[in-house]
């Protein structure tokens, strides 16, 4: 089937819905294509809040927010993006409120704000209340509110349509191809402009806070065209997620006095950080946890978790200040923090890297200013490089609304000016090939088994603690898994709701993301932000203050070409010199 | 069968009892009203009530009326007060208790007539 729209939005999370909304306001026809019902998108899982210098609770300025963002990103953050962001987000949060978002309130009836890691006043002097929140369901409220506004605007949604290919020819995006889950049919969407907002790819790791559906589809599709992925080596891990599940456990649990214990019940942090023990910085805590686990002192069926002990805290603290976590631990682990030890594990959380874009979301095709006409991207899957080497809490929700909005406005403006580009013949060819290969494969390998192998090896070799040999090994493992993937069989021959086929396809996307990530990480011989290498322990501004651009070598399968892009070290009005990152 | 809890069964019983009393009421109006056709006709109808299914049915209708009446009160309390919703389960058990008592009382009163005939 063939469809025509001025602007197409891929993905209906916070970024996609924001883009669709603002594109629609730009007087063009808009359709939003999403593999999930919009309200199922993972933006709904975000809890903490959205950072903006409103100053409702304490004095605050966008300059301070910009500084924190740049410093948090270990100076790999593009400062022009940070400046635009820190200014725009204030207006964007008010706009969300005007859309009806039910924020929590201050006693004066203003949007309530609270403190969050890394957000400071006066360029690092002390913590400041900057995170605007709606209880601990901020992401849920943003997702619902934006979907509601799209219903109001009458946005057309194609739900449970999986985008399988982008049509890019002569540097111009002409539309895309999508697979309709209900019928197994391929649809061609012809458009003047396309906005990508398909979210992250945390599922390449074994333990993650990400949804099963976050498989990096659009990053991979972009990459398969020989276009670059930026800064893929930077992936944020959170030290405490519920064991096996990866569901996030806030740092506050240790702030309140929680103690980490190994299988012997020992408070092992006394050994690693004798003075501040469990309240050591995230990386030290995580490293210690992994060391315990690797030395056989982990807990749980596979010995790969650590206990967090709250039993000595007053019940009121646990059920009051830590209510959410208490509920999750009770529901999922059946472990009541009041009397039981709770099992936690570091969890893969957020992709700093992704499809490179400029400040209006326009997708870049190289590190020197080239772009793909008519193609925009926003959200976790894009990389304006706001987050640099490490994202600050609450800055992702901000990223979605600020850059989702900018991409929507820019795409609509562009679409108003141009004619519908010419569609090449047979645009569905590559997608048909991909599905035929999967469906007709006589192979017997099991997609689930390959996925599991990928997730486990990525976790071990390109996880929180990295070193050259492990990553070299992982480069090979990924290639082996890709070879096995060519041999995957799909047993369900049906067309209707063939979720087996879709899962197999998603595995292909994940393998590509893993490939780009592993190679980029191996290539960066320094430690910066979330990229922590045992063999190159220090930050190296002289050689590495630059963004990685990973390209698939279209002539030589399995080969990744690495290029670079300069970091923009100046904002429009402010600039912050790289300094050692100490808090 | 959906494993609903008290509320589901309360609703189902309320509906069934309501429809049952309605059926009974319609019969009742017809039979009592039938005296306009004269005594013979009236008594002929009342003889059919003598059949045992009707006699047992009568006990159930009595209990049904009591259940429906008291559960109706429960519903009204729920509709107009927040507490009604909070305590709907307890109220339903009270309704059941009252209905069971009514059932037993009706059965005891009617038993002699049931076995002995009129």
């Amino acid at each position: 089937m063939h469809h025509r729209y001025d602007v197409l939005v891929v993905g209906a999370g916070g970024a996609g819905l924001m883009a669709a909304l603002y594109a629609a306001k730009g007087n063009v026809s808009v359709a939003c294509i999403s593999k999930l019902y919009p309200t199922r998108s993972h933006t709904g899982a975000a809890q903490g809040g959205i950072g903006a210098a409103l100053g409702n609770v304490a004095e605050d300025h966008w300059e301070w927010h910009m500084f924190d963002t740049v410093k948090g990103g270990d100076y790999l953050t593009d400062q022009d993006a940070a400046e635009v962001f820190a200014k725009d987000i204030i207006e964007a949060v008010y706009e969300l409120e005007h859309m009806g978002l039910p924020f929590s309130r201050t006693p004066e009836g203003k949007i309530a704000q609270r403190k969050f890691g890394g957000h400071t006043r006066d360029f690092g002097k002390a913590a400041v209340e900057r995170s605007c929140y709606a209880k601990d369901r901020t992401g849920h409220m943003i997702l619902q509110t934006l979907y509601q506004q799209n219903v109001k605007e009458g946005t057309t949604f194609f739900n449970e349509f999986h985008v399988t290919d982008l049509i890019i020819e002569d540097g111009r995006c002409r539309g895309l191809v999508a697979y309709e889950l209900a019928t197994g049919e391929l649809h061609t969407f012809h458009a003047k402009a396309v906005i990508l907002a398909a979210g992250g790819y945390g599922r390449i790791f074994k333990i993650t806070s990400n949804a099963l559906t976050l498989t990096g589809d659009l990053m991979s599709i972009y990459y398969r065209k020989g276009l670059p992925l930026e800064d893929m080596e930077f992936y944020q891990f959170h030290p405490t997620g519920l064991a096996k599940l990866g569901i996030l456990v806030t740092e506050g649990i240790r702030g309140e006095g929680g103690i980490l214990r190994n299988k012997d019940g020992e408070r092992f942090m006394e050994r690693y950080a004798p003075t501040i023990k469990d309240l050591a910085p995230r990386d030290i805590v995580s490293r210690s946890m992994i060391t315990e686990i690797r030395e056989g002192r982990g807990v749980g069926r596979d010995g790969d978790a650590i206990y967090i002990d709250l039993t000595h805290l007053p019940k009121e603290v646990i059920e009051g200040k830590l209510a959410e976590i208490t509920d999750l631990a009770r529901t999922y682990l059946g472990q009541d923090p009041v009397k039981d030890l709770v099992m936690v594990q570091p969890t893969a959380h957020y992709a700093m890297g992704g499809i490179p874009t400029d400040l209006n979301g326009l997708c870049l095709s190289d590190g020197s200013g080239g772009s793909v006409e008519g193609l925009y991207a926003a959200g976790e899957q894009a990389c304006v490089s706001l987050h640099g080497a490490n994202r600050l809490g609450t800055n992702s929700l901000g990223d979605l609304v600020v850059f989702g909005r900018r991409a929507g406005i820019a795409a609509a403006a562009y679409a108003r000016q141009v004619e519908l580009p010419i569609m090449p013949d047979n645009p569905e060819r590559d997608s048909v090939d991909m599905f035929d290969r999967l469906k007709n494969s006589k192979g017997t390998d099991n997609a689930a088994a390959i996925r599991k192998a990928l997730q486990e090896s990525m976790m071990n070799n390109v996880g929180i603690f990295r070193n050259g040999p492990d990553m070299e090994k992982q480069v090979d493992i990924v290639q082996e898994l890709k070879a096995r993937y060519a041999n995957v069989g799909v047993s369900d021959p049906g067309r209707r709701y063939n979720s087996e086929l879709v899962e197999a396809m998603e595995l292909g996307f994940m393998l590509d993301c893993a490939e780009a990530m592993t190679t980029s990480a191996l290539n960066r011989t320094e430690s910066r932000g979330a990229h922590d290498r045992a063999d190159y322990h220090d930050r190296d501004d002289a050689n590495w203050l630059k963004h990685t651009m990973a390209y698939r070598d279209l002539d030589k399968p399995g080969n990744v070409i690495i290029g670079y892009k300069p970091v923009s070290l100046k904002g429009f009005t402010r600039a912050f010199e790289p300094k050692p990152r100490v808090y | 069968m959906y494993r609903g809890r008290e509320g589901q069964w309360a609703f189902l019983l309320h509906r069934l009892s309501g429809l049952a009393i309605l059926a009974y009421l319609m019969l009742h109006v017809f039979s009592i009203g039938s005296f306009v056709f004269g005594e013979r006709f009236y008594m002929a109808i009342h003889e059919t009530y003598d059949l045992w299914p009707f006699r047992i049915g009568l006990i159930f209708v009595t209990a049904g009326v009591v259940y429906h009446a008291f559960n109706g009160l429960r519903i009204i309390v729920m509709d107009f007060t927040g507490a009604g919703v909070a305590y709907q389960r307890q109220m339903w058990y009270a309704v059941l208790l009252i209905s069971a008592a009514a059932f037993v009382y009706a059965a005891l009163t009617l038993w002699p007539r049931l076995v002995g005939g009129y």
Partner: protein, 257 residues
């Protein structure tokens, strides 16, 4: 990094490792592929699971290693996206918020069926369009046409609290598809839509209260509710749905009076 192991460290409470027990279970799933089957049929799978596993993990295990064709929706795996409402052991629940130990013992059986009242498309996956149609019918969006202030609209904490429950809804349909009225009467808007309407009716900033009350006042609206409470029991977000529905009924009544 200090490597001195201090023996003085007090061992904390030693807990048994719940991870080590494995339960042998039968999972009985109602399967249906309209392209192949005339009617739905039960298929039983043997699995091993830990007591703390989620039912969705068990179903995934079956899909990944035993029956790849098995079809159902899922995404977040922790009760926030609302994809995986199913009828598990006779009750509507999210498969990802239901633990094996709460629904089965060793050697026991877990039955899984699609939620009721919506057309089954394949296995556990149903057509959600009618559900979202009723959602859209209540004007589920904030309406305030008067010019917005430069900053936020002011709302007191107490006013914001009125929306605390209803704004928590994730549109999972556990409630609507557990309602005995909805099973037999699909034109009833259903508890989920009423919860959504409540969200806006009780928003002090919203200006379209009257229109929404009118929609609620229809034959297909709030009056269809017979207070069966299945919705409240089923809600994975612990929303006191029946209470909210009763509040809407009263709001309609007092507004029209």
């Amino acid at each position: 990094m200090t490597q001195t192991v201090s023996p003085s460290t007090t061992p904390g409470p030693v807990t048994t490792q719940p991870g080590l027990t494995m339960l042998k279970l039968k999972v009985k799933i109602k399967r249906f592929d309209p392209d192949v089957d005339k009617k739905a049929h039960w298929v039983t799978y043997d699995v091993e699971a830990q007591p703390g596993d989620r039912v969705v993990d068990v179903i995934n295990e079956i899909k990944w290693y035993q029956e790849p064709g098995l079809t159902f929706r899922r995404s977040c795996l922790h009760g926030i996206c609302g994809s995986d409402a199913m009828l598990i052991n006779g009750r509507n629940r999210l498969a990802c918020k239901t633990l094996v130990r709460d629904v089965a013992k060793d050697g026991g059986t877990i039955t899984v069926e699609p939620i009721r009242g919506l057309k089954v498309e394949k296995d556990l996956l149903v057509d959600m369009e009618p559900f979202f149609d009723s959602y859209r019918a209540i004007m589920p969006y904030f309406i305030n046409e008067s010019p917005a202030p430069a900053a936020e609209r002011i709302q007191s904490e107490a006013e914001a609290d009125l929306m605390a429950h209803s704004s928590n809804c994730i549109l999972c349909a556990c409630c609507t598809t557990s309602c005995p009225i909805f099973w037999v009467n699909g034109s009833y808007l259903g508890p989920a839509s009423i919860v959504q309407a409540h969200r806006f009716i009780f928003d002090s900033r919203d200006e379209a209260t009257q229109q929404r009350l009118n929609i609620m006042n229809q034959n297909t609206g709030v009056w269809r509710c017979r207070t069966a409470y299945n919705c409240t029991e089923a809600c994975p977000r612990d929303i006191p749905i029946t209470q909210l529905i009763e509040e809407v009924k009263r709001a309609v009544m007092y507004q029209q009076a």
